[in-house]
Amino acid sequence: MLDKADGQIITENVRLVHAVGMHARPAVKLTKLAKKFQAQISVRVAGAAEWINAKSVAKIMAMRAAHGSTIEIKASGSDAEAAVAALVNLIVTDFPDEAS
């Protein structure tokens, strides 16, 4: 059995409500937030083959997630649960300007 503290992989799905999809501003906010966590965090557009490092703005932009697409988030590490919750919150609240 995996140790819950750091071995478990946390996953969550969330719909991208941002009007123009994952463009520069949302991508910058997402990666900034992801970098606050120790956990290794990956995202992908639901169904995509490849998982993408949530801390890389270049890769998040290249993902070309459109408005209305579903984003899958997975994380592993000591603060994985908090990381996933924070990212889901950022996306469902449509990347508010004060995402502190």
């Binding site: 123009v20 991508a27 910058v28 801390k55 890389s56 890769k59 932009m61 070309r64």
Partner: protein, 539 residues
């Protein structure tokens, strides 16, 4: 001295209005100076130092610029802090690439990727990335990334100019920007407009001569080494511009118009995207009517979906969060379109026109609705159908639109059904207004007047009968406004009446609180409402 450029004038496109008269300064992408690569370790170290230096420069720029500009730069900073992205470049260096070569190829790859995107927004990011690429390369080549000294008040001429270079120039003493390429929708154009710096783009080729320049952002002209006569005319245009701006600004800059304590929304009508270049357009509460017939007038036949999408998208971006009402094709009547409208109608004004025609030609209408459905996700879009007589027509239009949205979404394309409304221009629609389940109404007073007064508005012999203040017309307007008030549905008026100060008291008394006028009439209408509100007459 070569005299070849003297008195020459070049025409481009307006990106930001205003006038500049000053020394001509050419700024070219700093590709001069070859760099000699060092050892693998030295190369890696050089790039690391260049990245740190660039981060510092950009952060400093962002702090000075603030707001929108800071957000543009934030993406560049994020990219420099992207370990995955940077690591790949260091890997290339460890495999023998020189620092500048590795950096350039990584950035060029990103730029090519963005450039291949369908999305205009992603394409626009290319210039931000090129900006970042050139900044680092300039530092690596020992340039320190310092901008060349530009005298204040200069007319800066470049092929294109990245946003960060624009921000490095001291514009405090005015000046202007003349770009040989560039685009009015670029970030740098946005910055120029925000700063009130005149800017003309797409000037094409200009000879490498000329010491002083006149830049007219309104006429979109650049004149090199002007003659005394050119200078005199330029100063005259500048003076006219200054005076009209001063009076219009004074009125327009005041808070929103109100009458008897109620807010009056003032929107603008546009015929084409370029109408947004009007200096006063920015003060509108939104776009009350965007006509789309200009798309049908372009050469090369009926417009494809992409052409239409780009036009709608550009307007929505301009409007930001303000509402934009786009009217679907209003062809027919006095607006025949080859390949679309029906020839040989005995009475085209009472014929198959407006929504009637669109419903009869679903293959053409569907293309427009697809483009609108895609644009709807970009901003606050409302779509209205012209020339509607019966609720069934409106529902048929809505049904077709909803199907198109569903189809797009099934294809995985971002799309949504915008708020739908109708133009109230057929008397029957005005009289039976409560039978329409529309989200908003817009009174097209020109057609409504000609139908209710039975006068062809283009027939000069009937001019005395074409009275916009005829009680029958005002009765229909008042009924529509009253219905809107009771039903909580917005009602605006977008015909010529709205821009006619003499009609304003009647329109306000009819209960209208939203008016849509040409940008050039905005200041006068706002001023008139102010006067009426403070108990004055029309003045």
């Amino acid at each position: 001295m070569q005299g070849g450029a003297a008195g020459l004038a070049y025409r481009g496109r307006t990106a930001s209005i205003g006038f500049a008269h000053g020394p001509l300064v050419r700024v070219d992408a700093g590709t001069n100076g070859e760099r000699i690569a060092g050892s693998l370790v030295e190369e890696a170290l050089d790039l690391r130092k260049a990245i740190d230096a660039a981060s510092g420069q950009i952060a400093e720029l962002a702090a000075i610029a603030g707001g929108e500009a800071a957000q543009i730069l934030e993406f560049q900073v994020a990219l420099l802090e992207d370990e995955d992205f940077i690591e790949a470049i260091f890997t290339a260096i460890s495999e023998g690439d020189a620092a500048d070569v590795a950096w350039r190829s990584a950035l060029d790859e990103q730029i090519a990727d963005y450039n291949s995107a369908e999305d205009e927004y992603l394409k626009a990011r290319c210039s931000d990335l090129a900006d970042l690429r050139d900044r680092i390369i300039s530092i690596l080549r020992g340039g320190g990334g310092e901008a060349p000294k530009i005298p204040s008040g200069a007319v800066v001429c470049a092929d294109d100019l990245p946003p960060s270079r624009f921000l490095e120039i001291d514009w405090s003493a005015g000046g202007g920007l003349a770009l040989l390429r560039g685009s009015p929708t670029s970030h740098v154009a946005m910055l120029a407009r925000a700063r009130g710096i005149p800017m003309v783009v797409q000037l094409g080729a200009i000879p490498e001569i000329g010491a002083t320049a006149l830049l007219d952002g309104e006429g979109a002209t650049l004149e090199l080494d002007p003659s005394a006569e050119q200078l005199r005319l330029f100063e005259k245009r500048r003076e006219i511009h200054r005076k009209s701006r001063a009076s219009a600004r004074a009125i327009l800059r005041r808070p929103t118009a109100s009458w008897r304590g109620e807010r009056i929304k003032l929107l603008i009508n546009i015929q084409r995207v370029e109408d947004l270049d009007h200096a006063d357009a920015q003060y509108a509460d939104g776009i009350g009517l965007m006509r789309t017939e200009f798309l049908l007038a372009e050469r090369g036949g009926l417009p494809d979906e992409e052409t239409q999408y780009r036009a709608y998208d550009a307007v929505l971006r301009w409007a930001d969060r303000r509402p934009v009402t786009i009217r679907t094709f209003d062809a027919g009547g006095d607006k025949p379109v080859p390949g679309f409208t029906i020839d040989g109608e005995a009475n085209p004004f009472l014929g198959v026109r407006g929504l009637r025609l669109c419903l009869a030609r679903p293959e053409i209408f569907s293309v427009q609705l697809r483009a609108l459905a895609r644009a709807a996700v970009q901003g606050n879009l409302r779509v209205m159908f012209p020339m509607v007589t019966a609720p069934d027509e409106f529902e048929s239009g809505r049904k077709l639109f909803a199907e198109i949205v569903q189809r797009l979404q099934a294809e995985g394309i971002a799309a949504m059904l915008p708020e739908l409304g109708i133009m109230v221009e057929v008397p029957a629609a005005a009289l039976a207004i409560a039978t329409f389940k529309a989200s908003f109404f817009s009174i097209g007073s020109n057609d409504l007047a000609q139908y209710v007064l039975a006068c062809d508005r283009s027939n000069g012999a009937l001019a005395p009968l074409m009275d916009p203040l005829h009680p029958a017309l005002l009765e229909l307007i008042a009924r529509t406004a009253e219905h809107g008030r009771r039903a909580g549905t917005s009602v605006s008026l977008c015909g010529d009446m709205a821009g006619d100060p003499r009609c304003l008291p009647a329109l306000l008394n009819c209960g209208l609180r939203e008016l849509s006028v040409n940008a050039s009439a905005l200041a006068q209408i706002k001023q008139t409402i102010d006067r009426l509100s403070s108990g004055g007459g029309l003045g």
